[in-house]
Symmetry: C2
Subunit: 177 residues, 2 copies
DNA sequence: CCTTTTCTGTAATGATCGCTAAAAATATCA
DNA sequence: TGATATTTTTAGCGATCATTACAGAAAAGG
């Protein structure tokens, strides 16, 4: 997972994977089927563990708390010393050659799913009068998630935890300035 | 340029490049030296032409006009029918294998340069009383550029021109809401 | 027209890509 | 212990990677 996360799908070779896991190539293929299927498993694992901060955050009682926790969780994950910079959903395969097209599309779909999850949480907040009735949940979610992906790009450029926190704070200023 | 832009540095093979240009491999090497040097030329070309909207925007008389034009230019470029989705500075090599590490760093450095250019423009605006004296140009620039990179990620996921415009409008709401 | 230079095309370099057949070693269980 | 599964290792698959040596064609200059 760390290799795919750090170097992207295309940038990670089978040799690097087997060497990191400590097994031979046929063992990897017996266990996972192919590089793409291994990445599939890695993606599930990523969503289950380091990226679980997103669904967790959305369970907060108020939209404001949820978004705050969302950004805090993202920053904590990104700034974790043992983690590569950024988010696997972005770094994994933002642009890719024809061979990795399927992975690219899958990551794009997963990003969209994350955005819709946030959108539904904000819609609930509007319904609960937690957000003003005229608030547009779809636009808000699109905006906030865009900042989140942008922070992933910034992390890839070496942004510090403090810089990311400032960005998140400014982004939330749109709603609760 | 379009190939590197669409498929990233690693995702673009020499065969794809020579076939697109319509020359043989030795001619490409005689003309550009190597794949990496060709990418260097491509990057210069990209900054000179489709990405010139950034320096152009910063020449607007007010910070607000500058940022508006910055986002408008970015959206126009991204939504251009004949252009790949997103920004070469982001899609080119956000994460990459060891062989493309130099390119990755160069793109990160170029992104940082763009951010600093915006920062200096905002600092000027503060000095000119165009922005409130207590405004933090560095944080503002970091925030706005983060949204810009995020829009590049969204574009890679198929975001439309209208969606990007809404995001930009919300992002500017932080300053001129 | 002939020589010299410049360019283009063919072909192949070693390396690495993802992937797999078959032998060797190990574990399982009667 | 001995026969049977299961796993690991070795070795190599064809394809493609970026890169280049070399031969032939075109262009330039006298």
């Amino acid at each position: 997972m760390l290799l795919f996360w750090r170097h992207g799908y295309e940038g990670t070779s089978l040799a690097a994977l087997t060497s990191a896991i400590g097994i031979n190539t046929p063992s990897l293929y017996a266990a996972f089927g192919s590089k793409e299927q291994l990445f599939q498993k890695v993606l599930e694992r990523y969503l289950r563990n380091p990226a679980c901060y997103l669904p967790n955050a959305l369970q907060e009682p108020t939209a404001r708390k949820a978004v705050e926790k969302l950004f805090a969780g993202a920053i904590r994950m990104v700034a974790h010393v043992r983690h590569p910079d950024g988010c696997l959903l972005v770094q994994g395969a933002l642009a890719a050659g024809p061979a990795a097209e399927a992975v690219r599309r899958q990551l794009a779909a997963t990003r969209r799913r994350a955005q819709r999850a946030l959108q539904r949480r904000l819609e609930r907040a509007v319904a609960e009068r937690d957000l003003p009735r005229r608030a547009n949940a779809e636009r808000l979610a699109g905006y906030l998630i865009t900042v989140l992906w942008g922070m992933s790009v910034q992390a890839a450029g070496g942004a510090t935890r403090g810089e990311l926190a400032e960005i998140a704070s400014m982004a939330m200023g749109v709603l609760w300035g």
